[in-house]
Symmetry: C2
Subunit: 179 residues, 2 copies
DNA sequence: GGCACTAATGCAAATATTTTGCGTTAAGGA
DNA sequence: TCCTTAACGCAAAATATTTGCATTAGTGCC
């Protein structure tokens, strides 16, 4: 049977932290398993046995980092909330660190981590849309927003080297709201 | 100055072929640099010098494999052509080999390969849309199709483990054509 | 065509990494 | 508390990556 308790959790936390710290390293981040293990005070074999591969470890760390740190801002006007949230989302995802995390999440073998990532944005959207429904309004569905706004933005981030899509994203949002 | 001539091209072709062949291997594909080099009749250092990393090599191979092997079918009815092409596109991309290639293209450090990939689908769409314009019709723009159909399909393939989206994709296409 | 220049490769030693067997530690259940 | 065994540490073995130097072969020039 599995044993997620105490020690395992502590070690995983130490390893995740080690990855973050090594990213900040001034002279080029040395993201190798031995380096991460050393920083975390753990033997490399622990990492290999738990994650199998550096790619898998980085995928899980990235998924965790993509977890939103706060619920979407609530101004009272849900359309405005959506716009504010979207601006931040696009900025974060299209930044260099954001792109790197997306690469890493998608680089992992198991779809689990990528799924987690989209679950997060779904939750954030749901939070805003729930408030809209409380106000007896008729907002679009989460899926309509995913298809109409999030997906096109992500496609461009992943498949082109294009600059920040700020206005473009807002235009997509307006169009989806008008339907 | 660069020397893409003769030998380099031959070696690159041999290496790409080696990757393909190792994928077919019955008892688990051994996609390591040394294995690829051995199969291609080349020393590993050649691969390391040219691509730097296994991820980069696989990204470029995947980009090449995602190149469409034929122009979209032409039935005379461009709406039908779009539908036929889309069905095949979705089937190919959501298959296990297709997903693996997408992972590999996106896993590379440089955006170049992913960009190539989306350029290919853009070309295919353009080919169909050009025929529509020749017929003095008013088809949607390439970007409208990318935003309205391709992006949502890709988002689901990349971020969920959901099953083949055949009908879903067609529904997206219909909606985009009606606008 | 022959020649000079040097990018691209081959080779092999030096490093770095990943894997693996076995002993030890510590969750989780009785 | 005791037992079972998942998870870890350690170190040797197996692989993979890097690097310096020698060799091969595109490319431009005469």
């Amino acid at each position: 049977m599995a044993r997620p308790g105490g020690r395992s959790a502590r070690i995983q936390a130490a390893i995740f932290k080690a990855v973050e710290e090594l990213r900040e390293e001034p002279d080029g981040p040395d993201l190798t398993v031995p380096a991460i293990a050393a920083r975390a005070g753990v033997t490399p074999s622990t990492i290999y046995r738990r994650w199998g591969t550096l790619n898998e470890l980085l995928a899980q760390v990235a998924a965790q980092n993509l977890r939103p740190d706060a619920p979407p801002e609530a101004t009272g006007d849900w359309r405005r909330d959506l716009e504010i949230w979207l601006r931040q989302f696009v900025e974060e995802m299209s930044s260099d660190p954001g792109r790197a995390m997306l690469r890493e999440v998608l680089g992992g073998e198991r779809a689990e981590n990528a799924g987690q990532c989209s679950a997060y944005t779904r939750q954030q959207l749901d939070a805003i849309l729930d408030r809209a429904r409380d106000a007896s309004d008729e907002p679009p569905s989460t899926d309509e927003l995913l298809d109409g706004v999030i997906a096109p933005v992500m496609y461009r981030i992943l498949f082109t080297r294009a600059a920040p899509d700020d206005d473009y994203a807002i235009a997509l949002l307006q169009r989806t709201l008008e339907r």
